[in-house]
Amino acid sequence: MRHEFRVQVGPAAFRIGSDWRQPLDQMAALYNGYPTPEIPDFTVRLFARRFWRRFLRPSVMIGGDYMLPDAAPLSLAHGMLGAEMGMNLQMALGQRRYLLLHASAVERDGKALLMTGESGAGKSTLSALLGERGWRFMGDEFALVDLENGAIHPFPRLVSLKNEAISLFEDSVDASRLGPLMRDTPKGDIRHLRPPDDAVEKMHEPAHPALLLFPRFGHAPDIREIGQAEVFVRLTQASTNYVMLGEVGFDTLSRLVTTIPSRAVDYPDTESAVDSVERLWAELAA
């Protein structure tokens, strides 16, 4: 590959190769200050399917150690999104060291709050918002559960802000923390946000989980209890490697579900969500 960028995010180390310089320069700027690994865990490749497609209507194919068949190519302007998708894919398909939950995580007083839910539920936006308001941001995409002691390991990759969430941050954070605005990607409008400095500095500090929330955006404010069996099943669906880990995956997930409280939280807007989270945290976890 003509261009290369390496980055360590929490316990996972990546190398990204690209036929084009632009996406890697954008990443290097946003990941400035992250450690550079010597021997990465995963390789991601951004490449042109045909040689001339490097120059003529460049279209970016995403490859790597672990791949999905028939992944659609992206335009060069969305190249950095391709790299981030490739990194996520390596984690989702290749990560064996931790139970991987599709969840965001923030930390306060050494304890972790996990938020999970379907795409669009707002878990990513909420974690980023809390990260700007006194919590330590641990990750907006994956929570890595330690197979031995159940602790949550941070995976503070760039936050991928989508659609309406973008404007929530554009005015309030330093412009140097925002990547290019990518319009009309397969996932809508996307803009990457560099996590706060303390999230990067503490990327190797795990925290024990204390509360699990299932936020849901766009509904009247409501808080419901959920039975442990339902929580368990929903988390198996939110995990990409639960089946693959076998017995140890079951034990790890059982421990998580039986040791921390969980609630479903409906919210009409982000301010209401932050209020609910703070209240539940004070009541159940603090």
Binding site: P37, E38, R45, F47
Partner: protein, 343 residues
Amino acid sequence: MSDARPLVRALTDPASTGDLDPAGWTALIAMARAEQLMGTLAHRLDGLDVPDAVARICADARLSIDHGRRQALWEAEMARRVLAPLGEPVVLLKGTAYVAAGLSAGVGRSIGDLDILVRREALDAVERALIAQGGWEWVKEDEYDDAYYRDHMHELPPLIHKDRDRMIDVHHTVLPLTAKPMPDAAAMIEESEALDDGLRILSPPDMICHAAAHLFADGDLAGGLRNLWDIDRLLRDFDERDGFWAALGERADRHQLAKPVACALRLAETLYETPVDGDVAGKSRAGDALYVRRLLARDDWGGETRKGLRLAFYIRSHWLRMPPLMLARHLWTKWRGKAHHDS
């Protein structure tokens, strides 16, 4: 230009990795993953002094292989339970056979689908039992593909299990019916050996014949380094057995696979230093070097290289699989389907 030679060297002589720098390790791991040989590499490096990052990656790979092995054996057991009442011999093929029989080729090997060989006369009964009692169902295919499999292939269209999401390939012979060699599948089943649970594996010479047929005639050499590694390990397991090499020569002739077997032996010897019998392997040919170039067509990033050579082997694989007129019809139908799909 870089190629997959470092992977071949590490597998053949694991201690030689002692001189790798971080870039060398990084490339080695990417190549091993791309060639589905990471589990094998991890086992070969077991006990050696490697960098911490590599040790962690190897530990992950071993875990994942253990899991795959358990799943593969479970799939075989599920098929056995469904098919046992038929009283038909069920022969395990490829990866599942190697792990079930405890052969070296199974150590660290990744296993995808369950491949079994049954008598052609029993094919309908096997298909019915798998679907009616076993919980397998057709992968959604189009009519052309389905008819193509049934008329011309050596296996049923793939079946997938409803709950476990695992595929089973039911073979009734070793090569597509349209290919020129006609291996004697009935004789392979006849000579197969029973395992403790009643499932069967091919006899050692037939196992090599099948692996060689699989390596060349039935594919475009995709995954070739792994398939050739299978052959290397099998030959090392069988090398010492009385009369093995003579039997291999005879069986290869009988199955009309003398050429692919000989070529596989020469390639294994060239790349993996496999001990081979000169009479069966024959003299090296000018074309062997092309095979080696094709097998090693990977770069430091695990990406495919030598596109032209890959394409040539791809076309050749189809050429070997069917007569020219049929090939033209087949590619036309496929191309039309793809064009339709893309638009």
